[in-house]
């Protein structure tokens, strides 16, 4: 019961992150200048940053769609973590080269760090759950489908004649290359079939 509610909680967190991604992406695409100014850039810098912010916006939208559409969102959350890294790198670069608005940049960096922590927690928890599930091994090593070992069954249908429309190489070419017939020593089916029995019924 606990595990189920915990899983639901994680899924809800992932969903919230997806919606956040979509909203942030939409804002970055629609109003990159406003976003740039809010994190400490002047109007000249805002103009310069517009293409980059739009690209970041498209990235956010893509990960948001991925999280919301997928029933296994962990890889998408990890994609968000990678995107957070890019955001931090961009903010650090801006911090180094800006004389003004450093306070706003620091606030933005703190916000990104907080959301990164949430992303990492969510992605790790979802991945751990997947790993736990994979560890639950159901062993089907006794399900061969054969009465005897596969080794003994190998080639039992070797005498089966591949239908002409499914041959790899036309017979004359095979003979011209001097190919030898298959080596013996394996049990063979007594029947020789072309696989066309069904079609012959109707010809």
């Amino acid at each position: 019961m606990y595990a189920k509610s915990k899983h639901r909680q994680l899924k809800n967190t992932a969903k919230a992150l997806g919606i956040f991604s979509l909203m942030l992406g939409a804002i970055e695409v629609a109003a990159p200048g406003t976003v740039s100014r809010a994190i400490g850039g002047g109007s000249k810098i805002a103009r310069h940053n517009k293409p980059l912010l739009r690209t970041y916006g498209i990235r956010e939208i893509a990960t948001g769609v991925g999280i919301l559409k997928s029933h296994k969102p962990a890889p998408w959350i990890w994609a968000r973590v990678a995107g957070d890294g890019l955001d931090m790198a961009a903010l650090a670069n801006k911090f180094r080269h800006s004389q003004h608005g450093r306070r706003n940049i620091a606030i933005a960096a703190a916000a990104v760090a907080g959301i990164t922590a949430l992303d990492i927690y969510c992605a790790k928890s979802l991945s751990r759950k997947k790993a736990r599930k994979r560890a639950l091994m159901y062993n089907y090593s006794d399900r061969s489908g054969f009465l005897v070992s596969p080794r003994a069954m190998r080639g039992i249908a070797r005498s089966y004649v591949t239908p002409p429309d499914m041959k790899a190489i036309p017979a004359p070419l095979t003979q011209a290359r001097g190919q030898k017939p298959p080596a013996g020593g394996v049990p063979e089916s007594p029947r020789k079939t072309s696989g066309n029995e069904g079609s012959r019924l109707f010809s």
Partner: protein, 389 residues
């Protein structure tokens, strides 16, 4: 009667629907005794196949007892026990006469729509969208079988449902995938996907005498089943598929590659798989083609790529230069089920193979909608679900 009905993406329900009736003198009505959820049903469930309508009865892998026969049907009689192929074939058109039953020219009732989407229509299929005729499927208590004097395979006494049910789809599908590789005793056959069709590809390749058979997946229990059938397993979460396949073939690559995965490939986090997932989520691509790309890359020059896995629409970034320059042959298509059933039924009777090995879950119709999710998410060790209506 009760039947599994598709309502919307991720929404399959067990509903009460009207009983089927004879609509044509060649029809039969079959009381379903066993049916199965096929991997390709998941494409419907997950909303990847176009042409579905709310209210469609799904399911195309089923068998049962004939309870009513049309006046012109001289082949079946009430009480016959039959497996019904998922392809509906007339048995009379040019394609059927050539044995190409899955591209029958007659049975698709929505030929105009299919012509527009595929260029030319293919055969009608049970419970598989209106692009393939919009026929009611077999995950139901009863089903109407059109052209029932052609497709249904009569089952002799002494064989259980579980032994013969898969003659309607996955066994012939795995067999055809292997046969169209024209396997030689020196061949390495690589099979992507250890799901039910992949399992039958492995066993078919073993029976046909491949030197070595390799199966690629990341689900341990499925790989253990493939190994039981004689395959060398590659877990793509743990090792590099291309490197391992090259190691196993002296660096030359497998001669024959089989894609038993299809449009919903799950892979390790490769660049192309991320690209596919993003494009698919944004509706810019319908199918994820990672397996196709990997096969084209690793396949030995002059090799054969066999594709039984279902694709529904458009794939992107296919390295066709590799295919052309390496002289690869691609063979694909829905299975020409009736072309193989007589032979495969004989092999089951002779004890060469018992297809029931693949069944991991058996449920009633009421529980089947939940099993769609269990099967899709590969939970509870699920490989193949059989439903008993």
């Amino acid at each position: 009667m009760k039947a599994l009905v598709w309502h919307h993406k991720n929404d399959v329900r067990c509903d009460t629907v009207p009983d089927p009736v004879i609509e044509h003198p060649r029809d039969a009505i079959v009381k379903v005794t066993s049916c199965a959820i096929c991997g390709s049903d998941l494409h419907l469930h997950d909303g990847f196949m176009p042409g579905m309508k709310s209210g469609d009865i799904i399911g195309h892998e089923f068998m049962g007892e004939v309870v009513e026969v049309g006046n012109d049907n001289k082949r079946l009689k009430v009480g016959d026990r039959v497996v019904v192929p998922f392809t509906i074939s007339c048995g009379e058109c040019d394609q059927c006469r050539k044995g190409n039953f899955s591209v029958c020219e007659t049975t698709n009732r929505n030929k105009h729509a299919a012509d527009k989407v595929f260029g030319h229509a293919t055969a009608g299929l049970f419970g598989y969208s209106h692009l393939t005729g919009g026929y009611a499927g077999g995950q139901a208590e009863y089903v109407r079988v059109p052209y029932a004097d052609v497709g249904p395979v009569k089952i002799p006494e002494g064989l259980t449902d579980e032994q013969v049910l898969f003659l309607g789809d996955i066994f012939p599908t795995g067999w055809q995938a292997a046969v169209q590789c024209d396997i030689q005793p020196t061949d390495t056959v690589a099979v992507w996907g250890a799901g039910p069709v992949g399992q039958f590809c492995v066993r078919s390749a073993i029976l046909l005498g491949a030197k070595q058979v390799v199966c690629i997946d990341n689900i341990p229990e499925r790989l253990s089943m493939a190994e039981a059938g004689g395959a060398i397993a590659i877990n793509f979460d743990e090792e590099n598929v291309v490197e391992r396949l090259n190691d196993l073939t002296d660096g030359k690559g497998p001669e024959k590659c089989i894609d038993a995965v299809g449009m919903e490939a799950h892979t390790a986090a490769t660049i192309d798989s991320v690209y596919d997932t993003v494009k698919q989520a944004m509706k810019l691509e319908s199918d994820r083609a990672h397996v196709l790309r990997e096969m084209m890359y690793v396949c030995r020059p002059a090799g054969i790529i066999s594709i039984p896995g279902v694709y529904g629409g458009i794939v992107d970034k296919i390295p066709f230069g590799m295919v052309m320059n390496k002289g690869l042959t691609i063979r694909t298509g829905q299975t020409h089920v009736n072309r193989w059933t007589d032979d495969l039924l004989s092999r089951i009777q002779e004890g060469q193979i018992d297809p029931s090995f693949v069944i991991t879950h058996t449920v009633g119709l009421e529980d089947a909608p939940e099993m769609y999710k269990v099967f899709r998410d590969k939970e509870d060790g699920c490989v193949k679900v059989v439903i008993k209506p």
